[in-house]
């Protein structure tokens, strides 16, 4: 099974114009051309791909690694049954 990093990179490569070679955990989202508005869209796609529901609380995500850790934390919470709830399967 591919890692969270790999799955996130797949979204970035598909939907955003990013250079594959730049996709390291340390890279800043801004430097990939993803500003705060772009992050909103990225997270919207993350919900779909990872089948998680993001909490309403704002979160500060500066690097690709930040997003990976955020997703992993939500996945862990979800496995514990304590997250905001999983998404219903797509119709």
């Amino acid at each position: 099974m591919s890692t969270t990093h790999d799955r996130l990179c797949a979204i970035l490569l598909k939907d955003f114009k990013v250079d594959a070679a730049a996709l390291t955990p340390e890279v800043a989202l801004e430097s990939l051309g993803i500003d705060s508005l772009g992050t909103v869209e990225l997270l919207w796609n993350v919900e779909e791909v990872f089948r998680i529901k993001l909490p309403a609380e704002p979160v500060r995500l500066l690097t690709l690694g930040d997003v990976v850790r955020y997703i992993d934390s939500l996945l862990a919470l979800q496995d514990d049954g304590a997250a905001g709830g999983t998404l219903a399967p797509a119709a």
Partner: protein, 416 residues
């Protein structure tokens, strides 16, 4: 007041996506009205439209495209084309003061209605709460104007006009006023509309204003001024003009498509849909006053002529009221028979066609006018374009639901 030159034109429309293509199709009298093929057309009583042959993916990359409703895509394409055509001295690298004297004026009736329709489909159709994060940005009425401002670095007034079917004419008229008054040195003005979603087409259908399908020829379904006219055909597209002070445009050697001489605005203040003869006549008179012209100086008219019973009858009476005994001698073109009704962009495309008609000395044809209507007994240039006319000044009429009327006065550019 300064004279105002049109130095750039851009179009994306059912008649083509360049000035040359639009003009060739218009002069030839080719109707772009057709049976609409879309997943929802089985739900439409009369699945007709005039569509633009335009794929946004061919012009905008993925991240950009996802932020642009089809309406904004059209507007940006048309504005970019118009700016390239104008080749003005304006530069995004110019001074703040110069950039603040550059304004944008866009008309749209329904703006990002396709994106809103998509959002409602997600929410209510699919029962999902996962509405796209950019829905507000896609749907908001000022999106098209905002994107043009970002693209071209215009930092002056960035205004969106939504007065239903006169939106673009209002926008162009307001831009004219500000360039003429000296407030602005350059303006991009026009309109954009992308109304061909299921929700909007059903809503128009419910109002009983849309044409029925002509049984013999779907492309002949919109029949302005004809006795058997049955309504309008919805269309999509955009047109933008670049406006500059006449003297500056001439001194820099710009090609001038024509002159924007004035604009008249008025409101029927009578009924939300029924057109008012007095209101339409008052608007034409206001336009003539703004241009400092007498009715006798108008050589031809591009009519609003939607193909509804009420509009075409009222517009005929209004033209008679303004032009008196001369009304029957003025060529009156109803080009919506060809390009359909672009709603909030209609006034911009028709303004472009009027400028081209002036430049080429051609009265464009009113198609499908086989059965004359005694209530529409003017010279409507039936079937075929009329060439070799000495056209110096024309009106382009735009009338709207809500009674918000706008009439533009345009002039041919004398040879340099």
């Amino acid at each position: 007041m300064r004279r105002v030159a049109v130095t750039g034109i851009g179009v994306v429309s059912p008649l083509g996506n360049s000035v040359a293509e639009v003009w060739a199709n218009a002069v030839a009298g080719r109707s772009a009205v057709h049976r609409l093929e879309a997943p929802f057309t089985g739900r439409l009583a009369a699945p007709l439209a005039a569509t633009a042959n335009f794929d946004g993916a061919a012009h905008f990359d993925g991240p950009r495209l996802r932020m642009l409703d089809r309406c904004s895509q059209f507007a940006l394409f048309a504005a970019n084309q118009a700016m390239k055509d104008a080749a003005s001295a304006f530069s995004v690298a110019g001074s703040d003061a110069d950039r603040e004297r550059a304004g944008i004026f866009i008309g749209t009736g329904m703006a990002g209605s396709i994106s809103m329709d998509d959002g409602y489909q997600t929410l209510y159709g699919a029962g999902s709460d996962r509405i796209k994060p950019y829905t507000i940005l896609l749907g908001m009425h000022n999106a098209a104007a905002a994107w043009i401002g970002i693209e071209h670095g215009f930092r002056g007034p960035n205004l969106t006009y939504s007065t239903a079917c006169s939106s673009a004419a209002v926008a162009i008229g307001e831009a004219w006023r500000r360039v003429a008054s000296g407030e602005l040195d350059i303006a991009i003005a026009g309109g954009s509309e992308a109304p061909l979603s299921c929700g909007s087409m059903k809503a128009w259908e419910a109002l009983h204003t849309l044409a029925t399908v002509d049984a013999n020829d779907a492309s002949a379904s919109c029949k302005p001024f004809a006795k058997n006219r049955s309504g309008m055909v919805l269309a999509e597209g955009a047109a933008c003009l670049v406006l500059e002070p006449w003297d500056e445009a001439r001194s820099r050697g710009a090609f001038v498509h024509g002159e924007l001489l004035g604009c008249g605005l008025s409101n029927d203040a009578s009924h939300i849909t029924q057109p008012s003869v007095a209101g339409q006549a008052a608007t034409m008179r206001a336009a003539l006053r703004a241009a400092g012209l007498d009715a006798a100086q108008i050589d031809a008219i591009n009519a609003h002529a939607t193909g509804t019973q009420a509009n075409d009858r009222a517009e005929t009476a209004a033209i008679k009221d303004v032009f008196g005994a001369r009304a029957g001698q003025i060529p009156i073109s109803a080009t919506k028979a060809m390009h359909g009704h672009l709603l909030g962009a209609a006034g911009a495309l028709e303004c472009v066609l009027t400028l081209l008609a002036l430049r080429h000395g051609v009265a464009l044809p009113t198609l499908h006018l086989d059965l004359a209507d005694a209530d529409c007994d003017l010279d409507c240039v039936p079937h075929q374009a009329r060439h070799g006319l000495a056209l110096r000044k024309m009106l382009s009429n735009s009338f709207a639901f809500g009674g918000s009327n706008a009439v533009l006065v345009l002039g041919a550019a004398p040879p340099t």
